[in-house]
Symmetry: C2
Subunit: 408 residues, 2 copies
């Protein structure tokens, strides 16, 4: 049995935060029903896509879900969707959406159908206005301190970190609310603004108090690790790697592994520094980089790796996505995180499951994304207990649709 | 009552993933005990720090926790720590650590003291080797596709996204395991590797299948939004903003708000494109940017904002951390996410709580970080039921320590 076996979640959402949250719960064993319009949701064609136009992004973020296609522009379709969202069962009645919680998705309206409904509503800003990862990230400071010192141009992140963090925050909130419902019988509405997730983290990491207490703000430090020691280096064979010495242990390992102990002692004495203090390492970062550079330049990545690993130095290679896939054993079947799975209409690819290993419950095997509408009939039959003839009529009236593997 | 009221978690961890996870649960009402060595953990002096040397980072990531100082190098100290970790109570027995789960922190050993212990162990790599956010990020592809197209140098992210995501994944796992224990009476060990969190997300977002199925990999696209339309623009008054048109609705709003509808139609006809298709917008991104640039260059940020907001365009200003703190109403007391709170030894600063709003349970007021060792006596008294004289002896023998506001 998987750890969330039995739990049933319905989702009307698109893009990253909601789909990633519910997929993460599906990877722990929850049953997730994603309801989409017949033509697919807003994210159904999101890039990257295959040569045939199938979205690898959609396939990757909806693994293991049941896909139900309903024409939610028509009242009968909305009625069906509401019935699925609020269907009975002690483990059901959990609903995720990033659409506005109004009209047919109004919480109070849904609550009339199921008094203990738990609804998670992800919004852009707390006032309900729109925001995406890209329009939040620009506002919270990071693009102006990313990249080469001296540059003025903002550098956006490529990883949609705020969306992902919002999703995992929502997943945590859902389980907290499910726990409360189990103990007290009460459902509720959880509301999470993407920009609040970012703002809370900016505060948690000290960026707000840095401005308010210290009267200063973080500057661009390129690839230096702020407040400690860490930087990238070039090897003899044209590779790059990142070295980190955040703790004293890591610092000593680095000095020993690269044989710069004596040069470092001379540097410390000359500058009155003590590099076991992270602040002193940070202050002398350019001088330390200069001491280390020749060592890396004289060695290939493989040679450096062997010597660094022998001293348990904390380091990592820079890898392109191709190098990651082709060369890193962590990104292969050697890592139990992955299985090689055939995705219908897409092909065979290395597919991750949940990154959590559980010692006491079964792990969910790596999952495949659905074909749009693949589970429409199954869900109407099993969750809503409709008869085959009722389902047939809904098909005839085009209120629902089945598997649409041909539709791109 | 807050949603996780009653739950008690013990933590032996440092830096971001663990402390952020448990703090996020404290912000939902859980009671969190952080055990540290008497001199403070590895992260106790982590930058940014105040002029007096107090870590704003530590204060920000340990809000609301009880701080217990124990000399865990001595057997008696370890015995005390183990007793706290495995103390009885149906809501207790939840333990977070990012130290190696061996020796006195071996799961099987701890389990002998409490059979239903839930232990969350965050590690660097699945094989137990060290990794930090910086040494994982370099390996999973993003730094080589971040920044200006044509550049070859890797650009590290500044937000420790993998640490934060690992933390929230761990928090979700903990609540899943607590649910399972409530239903079935069984505890267990959860193991989460930082690099697996990153690898799973790289797979989920389609980067692995892009290489394996499409035989290509993501390139550097600067501040363009991949596969849709979005870019940064300069305004007349020297500000920058980010505009996003991921959905058709956002695209139409942008064209209308900036009055480029006719020019866009001409561009579509000339190139045989249909910009309601995100792929066509992406292909024509440079031409679209060129059409929009003059509009932004002719307006101040405020003028542009008014016109964009009137059409509900999805956009955001680039802001430095100072601008965020001084100018953005979302980062002020106008947003209920924040309260202005005095942090002992640090000062008054805008302090976030949980980004989740709950309609049916009380929200936890914004929390203050502890002084190191502030709760040592309280926890030994209340959790371990030690007497004052027993606690006094432990102090005399320097196995424990109390509040150390003076120690920096």
């Amino acid at each position: 049995m998987a750890i969330l076996s039995g739990l049933r979640i319905t989702e009307c959402a698109a893009f990253i935060a909601g789909p990633f949250a519910t997929m993460s719960l599906a990877e722990l064993g929850a049953s997730v029903i994603r309801i989409d319009p017949v033509e697919g949701g807003l994210d159904y064609h999101r890039w990257p896509v295959t040569a045939a136009g199938r979205s690898l992004y959609w396939a990757g973020l909806n693994k293991g879900k049941k896909s139900v296609s309903i024409d939610i522009k028509r009242p009968e379709g909305r009625e069906l969707a509401q019935a699925i969202i609020t269907a009975p069962g002690p483990e059901a009645g959990l609903f995720f959406t990033n659409f506005p919680a109004q009209g047919w998705l109004d919480f109070e309206g849904l609550k009339k159908r199921r008094h203990d409904l738990i609804m998670v509503n992800i919004v852009g800003n707390r006032d309900g206005s729109t925001a995406l990862d890209y329009t939040v990230n620009c506002a919270v400071g990071f693009p102006l301190v990313t990249g080469v010192p001296g540059d003025a141009a903002p550098v956006n992140h490529v990883l949609p970190a705020w969306d992902l963090l919002c999703g995992m925050t929502a997943a945590t909130g859902l389980l907290a609310a499910e726990r409360h419902r189990r103990l007290h019988g009460e459902g509720q509405l959880l509301r999470i603004a993407l920009s609040d997730v970012a703002l809370a983290i900016v505060g948690d990491l000290g960026f707000i108090s840095e401005v308010q207490i210290n009267g200063s703000a973080r500057e661009r430090h390129g690839n230096h690790i702020y407040g400690a020691f860490g930087h990238d280096f070039d090897t003899k064979d044209g590779r790059k790697l990142m070295v980190a010495a955040v703790s004293v242990g890591q610092w000593k390992a680095l000095c020993k592994g690269t044989g710069i102990m004596e040069a470092i002692r001379a540097l410390e004495q000359g500058s009155g520094s003590d590099f076991t203090r992270e602040a002193d390492r940070f202050a002398a970062r350019e001088a330390i980089v200069a001491l280390l550079q020749p060592w890396f330049a004289a060695r290939t990545l493989a040679e450096a790796a062997a010597l660094l690993d022998a001293e348990r130095v904390c380091w990592g290679p820079y890898q392109s996505f191709e190098q990651l896939v082709h060369e890193d054993p962590r990104c292969s079947l050697a890592n139990a995180l992955f299985a090689e799975i055939e995705h219908p209409g897409i092909g065979k690819t290395l597919t991750p499951g949940s990154p959590i290993e559980f010692s006491g419950t079964d792990e969910v095997p790596q999952l495949v994304g659905p074909v749009l509408g693949q589970h429409t009939d199954e869900v109407l039959l099993e969750v809503l207990k409709l008869s085959s003839s009722e389902i047939g009529i809904l098909h005839d009236r085009r209120i629902i649709a089945g598997a649409q593997s041909a539709i791109l």
